[in-house]
């Protein structure tokens, strides 16, 4: 079952005389449970593509359909609510709320969703435990390392039970050990809980772990490959 469908997607920036085609006619589908990396050189359009998939930016042409809902049909306030309930975000710079503890950061999304306090506290604790931060739930971001903050960000992204998680260069600011830990956690969540991850990356260590690698250059998909891990995964799957 496809959770994301991208149809003839274009994003063109016009600056005075110059026209920049950041995304230039991309067609893609992402199925439930995928662990997909979008790779490509700087300026190839990876981040723009992720922003369009996440409904943070509007396409010049084409559409993104998430779980049967065309994002172009939603008003700006509907889009905000749609993001809240369907998409988890992990950012390169973690972007946690500095005045809140790890637990409160995870809880916050559920608060926006209207989940009651007891339930959201319990889920926040479980999620933080699952990303290996069960003992740091009361720490503020400033007391956590970069890797730990990014793990809180992953827990926050999952808090709302999203259809998929979009991660823009999630390991760009992490050392190799933190990168490995984060990847293991994301893979575990993908494998055990079926969370769909779509992330952009430059990092070869991340690419090696992905099951599908989509290469983007000049706003176009130049290759879309199921990796060895992905083929193995498909072979292992009951279907």
């Amino acid at each position: 079952m496809n959770v994301i469908e991208i149809k003839d997607l274009k994003k063109i920036y016009r600056e005075t005389e110059v026209e920049v085609k950041a995304v230039n006619g991309i067609n893609l589908t992402v199925a439930q449970g995928e662990f997909t990396a979008i790779v490509g050189p700087s300026g190839s359009g990876k981040t723009t593509l992720l922003n369009l998939i996440g409904g943070l930016d509007t396409p010049t042409e084409g559409d993104v359909v998430v779980d049967g809902t065309a994002l172009s049909q939603l008003s700006s306030s509907q889009l905000i609510d749609f993001r809240l309930r369907n998409i988890g975000f992990v950012f390169q710079s973690y972007n946690l709320i500095p005045v809140l503890t790890a637990e409160e950061n995870v809880e916050f999304i559920m608060h926006l969703q209207g989940v009651d306090k007891t339930k959201r506290r319990e889920r926040a604790k479980n999620l933080l435990t699952s990303v290996g931060l069960g003992d740091r739930i009361n720490s503020r971001p400033s007391k956590l390392s970069g890797g730990q903050q990014q793990r809180v960000a992953v827990a926050r992204a999952l808090a709302s039970h999203p259809k998929f998680v979009l991660a823009d260069e999630p390991t760009a600011n992490l050392d190799s050990k933190s990168t490995a830990t984060l990847l293991d956690i994301m893979l575990k969540l993908n494998k055990e809980e079926g969370v769909t991850f779509v992330f952009s990356t430059h990092d070869q260590r991340v690419v090696q772990k992905a099951r599908r690698v989509i290469t983007v250059e000049d706003g176009k998909v130049v290759s879309d490959v199921i990796t060895k891990n992905g083929r193995k995964e498909m072979a292992d799957s009951p279907q």
């Binding site: 943070l56 905000i80 809240l84 972007n95 608060h111 969703q113």
Partner: protein, 427 residues
């Protein structure tokens, strides 16, 4: 959770928030205390004006006020007094004969308004008799008065009484001007009922001292019987009937009752008789509210500026919040809560400091004796008792809240204009 985040956000930059809170607190403290000081001053002025200078109500012939002309007097005063005494709101009635006169000593003279009063009745309307200090009593009971010698010399004697012989009570300022003391003799000339110049000698029995030197200089009091006799007025004819009420708040009701009692006469409230006093009373609260609004307006700009800085510093965070699904309404309310809480924190501290200081000084008063000459010249007491009422405090609190709410609008709109994609790119 949003109010809690807003509160925590305030303390992200402690120094900046404290500077704003201190600015708001000092602004409100200063504004509130200055207001209490001015309010206390004006209330004292009004209260003393009514106690000593202007009766709460007075009944006159409609044309008497033009020239204090004896032809425009009230006849059958005893009948009218009896009718007035039946009104439940009236507690004191004093029939007065009033005329313009010239007071002379061997060396100087001065124009005055001369009042002929019945001492016992006058005491039910005016408290002026309380401002004459019995020198023996002062020495005995008020030894702590710093300049007691001067005080006793300047303001002493006794009030009028029927058993005295041609007594006169004058103000301290007039006494200084005429260079007279208690027991000095004064010659007073005036026109009688027929327009003939007449006069008589009076002996100073008392010198009164109020907080209004103009009143002291321009008014003198004698027995009505003496004045009526000099002016050839029948005993039942008076210039005005001065009234004191059970409750000043019922002023207009009482005035209406008296008007319906004497349709041919003119009834003046103290606000009509002394427009300056009426204006002080009516305008003071409005002036002070305007004063507080101006202070809060200035503070509002400080708050807007601070909150704009806050928004600029948090562009990426706000972008993230909007990206993950925080609605515009919630972003708006978070900024609004933060602004209002910041304003209220400063506001509460400022109001508490201001009110505390008012409470501390409201009993002891603030002694401005070094400026007493200037203050008394415009009718103000040299010791000011700051006063603020709960209505004014609530109003200021509401104004602080409104300032916070209004000051939050512009920064919150700026935050809402952010686009998540662009905001997330900011460093």
């Amino acid at each position: 959770m949003i109010p809690s985040i807003a509160w925590k956000n305030i303390w992200r930059n402690r120094t900046r928030s404290l500077v704003v809170i201190v600015a708001i607190a000092l602004g409100l403290f200063g504004g509130l205390f200055a207001s209490a000081f001015l309010l206390g001053m004006s209330e004292q002025r009004v209260s003393e004006g009514i106690r000593y200078e202007t009766p709460e109500l007075k009944v006159l012939h409609p044309r008497f006020k033009e020239n204090l002309e004896p032809h425009y007097s009230i006849t059958d005063a005893p009948d009218k007094e009896r009718a007035l005494a039946k009104l439940p709101l009236v507690v004191g009635i004093s029939p007065r004969v009033i005329t313009s006169a010239m007071v002379q000593t061997a060396t100087t003279s001065s124009g005055i308004t001369l009042y002929g009063v019945d001492p016992a009745k006058e005491k039910t309307v005016s408290m002026l008799y309380q401002t004459i200090w019995d020198s023996t009593a002062v020495r005995k009971n008020r030894p702590s008065v710093a300049n007691i010698a001067q005080f006793v010399e300047d303001s002493c004697g006794v009030y009028l009484s029927d058993d005295q012989h041609i007594p006169i009570v004058i103000g301290e300022k007039l006494a200084h001007k005429l260079k007279v003391k208690v027991r000095s003799k004064l010659v007073i000339t005036m026109q009688d009922y027929n327009g003939t110049l007449t006069g008589g000698a009076f002996r100073v029995v008392g010198i009164f001292r109020t907080s209004n030197t103009q009143f002291e200089e321009n008014n003198a009091f004698v027995l009505r019987s003496d004045l009526s006799s000099l002016m050839v007025l029948p005993d039942s004819t008076v210039s005005e009937l001065a009234l004191r009420l059970t409750n000043e708040k019922q002023l207009n009701v009482a005035a209406q009752q008296v008007r319906s009692l004497f349709p041919g006469l003119k009834v003046y409230t103290w606000r009509d008789s002394d427009p300056l006093l009426g204006m002080i009373d009516g305008m003071m609260l409005i002036s002070l509210i305007s004063f507080m609004v101006i202070i809060l307006l200035a503070l509002g700009f400080v708050i807007v500026n601070t909150m704009l800085m806050v928004i600029l510093e948090r562009v990426r965070e706000l972008g993230m919040l909007m990206a993950v699904g925080m609605s515009k309404g919630r972003v708006f309310s978070m900024i609004m809560f933060e602004t209002v809480l910041l304003t209220l924190t400063g506001g509460v501290v400022g109001i508490a400091l201001g009110y505390g200081t008012v409470l501390l000084t409201s009993h002891s008063g603030i002694d401005l004796s070094s400026f007493s000459q200037g203050l008394r010249a415009i009718g103000y007491s040299p010791v000011v008792y700051p006063h603020i009422d709960i209505f004014f405090l609530l109003l200021v609190t509401a104004l602080v809240l409104t300032t916070g709410l209004v000051a939050s609008i512009f920064p919150a709109i700026r935050a809402l204009k952010l686009k998540p994609v662009e905001a997330l790119r900011q460093d």
